[in-house]
Amino acid sequence: MTLGFVMLVHTAFDRAEQVAQYWSNAGCPVIIHVDGKVTQKVFRAFKARFDGNRLVRFSKRVRVEWGTWSLVEATQLATTRMLDNFPDVRHVYLASGSCLPLRPVGELQEYLFANPETDFIESVTIQEVTWTVDGLEAERFTLRFPFSWRKRRKLFDRYTELQRKLGVRRKLPEGLSPHLGSQWWCLTRDTLEAILKAPDRIAMDRYFQRVWIPDESYFQSLTRRYARRIESRSLTLAKFDTQGKPHIFYDDHVQLLERSDCFVARKIWPQADALYGTFLDPDRPAKRVAEPNPGKIDRVFARANDRRGDGRQGLYNQGRFPAPGFQGPVTCARYNVFSGFADLFETFDLWLARRIGGRVHGRLYHPDRAEFAGEERVLNGCLSDSATLRDYRPQQFLTNLLWSTRGERQTFFYGPGDTPEVAQFMARDPNATICVISGAWAIPLHLSQRPMDEIRSEAARLQRAELAFLKALNDVGVTARVHQWTLADFVVQPMEKLQNIVDEITGPGPRRLTDIPPMPDLSAFPEFLQRLRNEGVKPVVMGDFAATPLPQGRRRHGR
């Protein structure tokens, strides 16, 4: 009672030879199918390398094309040869020339000996399949595919489309329930003989000749008819990427493969010397009997597929540059923007940093320079504080800043007069929390001793800028969390409003605010607004001060 290997080879003959020798040295017969596209000269040279080895034989050659019946035909021929030539073979293992045994054959034989009647073949009903890339699942069985997908893609697509439109449906042969699964299986002699000697084999073969990728469905479906016990998984470790092509293993995967406890892996890069050297070493110590456990490898490759498909959110680089209209997140982390607070409260930045943690910058978009926290001139990632550099691509200044400081909460001030191009970007970013006290910019003007002429033009400029900012915040498509008050509203119960903001940023906690930073004396502020009005600037963003009790003097709010 023994185990036989059927090997489909089309390239990397040196490696295929190594593996075939390895298996035959362990006493396992090997039938090799060499692709009919390989020249006679190459084929003969390859065959000659096994002269004198009675356990390695070759089957009739077929020209194999990916995704077509020819692959199943080649498998049938080689398997038939195996069953006829080696009557004591109980299990047949289908492998390719780029497969590599990861554990000594003895361990695999023991494993199969313990499960003598089990067929190891991944076989999943078409309703459950999630891995197909082309989206053709049920249609593989109900449409016809006479054109090559690789060489005549357009014709393939058009003919498929045409059949869909015409509503063509092939009839499934009697007694066939369509299943799909990995091409690489290990089946018992009984099951294989039942499939290959079935009375309706001709009809079945004719049906599968027009099925799309029959090598993933022929044995997978027919095994269901005859098998006594199916383990629906492949003993060959093979992972597929987003394009549906197999992931390749290299020398640096050696530990990952060792720990997987799988019996065979594919596909191996032909020049992975260390892998072949390690796993084909005849002196390699046998390990404990363990169940295959590809979990870790699964995770590595699943992560790679995610990286290619979804990428890292909020990152812009030479390999990831989402087109305008991209629906995903535009920044990598949440951040907070405060407008007007620093005008109303003295030392607001220090107070805020104590309450919410992280880094609290000044006005990052200040016309003179980016006011990084702690008066820094350069920030993480060597981000410069130069206003010209920043304003060259103001949105990417922000995305860069957030990317380089990820893991640390970022907060900054933004006021009228700061680079306007980012306003809309932030307003449409769900990662942004934007808190605005509109009209607070007038307080420093009010407290300044500047001549009224200057104040008037400055007030007009700032109000215009702020109106544009407020418009962006109230536009359609705003997804940022926006908290907006007029100055008049805010000063009524500032503690409560700050509490809400802090709760939102840090998450609600048991600690209540007990103090807020000092505010200047605003008793003369309505008068100042009236003066502005008299000068011809109509203050509209501050709210209605007529009904507002104003904070008196420099007293601390709180208990």
């Binding site: 987003t242 990286r307 087109a323 350069v378 130069s386 990417q396």
Partner: protein, 336 residues
Amino acid sequence: MGLLSSYRMRLRRKRWRARAYLRRRELTCVENRTGQIAKPDLLLFCTVRNERTRLPYFFDYYRRLGINHFLFVDNGSEDGTREYLARQPDASVWTTTASYNRSAFGVDWLNWLQRQYGARHWCLTVDVDEFFVYPFCDTRPLRALTDWLDASQIRSFGAMLLDMYPKGPIARHTYVEGQNPFEIAAWFDSGNYVIEKNPGLGNLWIQGGVRARKFFADRPYQAPALNKIPLVKWTSDYVYVSSTHALLPRGLNQVYDVDGGEKATGVLLHAKFLNMFVDRAEEEAARGEHYRAGDEYKTYADELDPRANLWCKWSERYINWRQLEILGLISKGNWA
């Protein structure tokens, strides 16, 4: 992409091909060993001028990566560069004294050589101070990457320039022949790059890094482009149109994903800021053979005090490609 714009691009490609064809006469063959090139060989194309000290390490690095044949255009070197190159058993060398500027900074010459010898090969086009780093480059040879690209039906591979600089004055350390330049210029800027799509050719236009931070802070628009596509599975009708920043046909420039995913990319570590650079900047500024008549070099010559320090406290010290991946400068894509 409309028919008209496609046609315009086609004309543009033809024009670059014609230029390469005309300038082929400027090249004189010094040593032609291209007969050695075998079917699957990896080729490297490079234009040099007076770079003798840099060459030994350059050859070392790229031979280790698995380059099989080097094709050089020597632009009138006077320091033994040409002779050194001609002695290398795996290099073919052409020489010219024609204008670097008028040959579109060597593009015409290399386009010609690529058309002659590059077809059906993976071609890496770099300068002598550019060192290609790609995911897994410490454990997998370049051939592993190109095999994977072939299997994935990808024809071109992006690798932006990453300017490297020393800590302290540039002229403090003297580069010794054969030395790994990144022992001296070990630092880089990790997170200050800005990107825009070039609407015509579809490539990304990347600027930033230490050069924008130190030399172009007041006119960022003029900061040098850092985007490059140095690795291409060549076909005889491909052309580089502006250094290795962009190619035609345009599809080759699509080395980035537009739906949020990440395509696999690498970097070219740029060993520009070494002690040789200080003298070189003055010379190149006077020669005016570089982009915008060496305008960039004038900037360096004017502003580059030999005592200048490009380093800042947020500079990253280069470790390996994994570090670049974590920093977000490169990506593995779905290569694992």
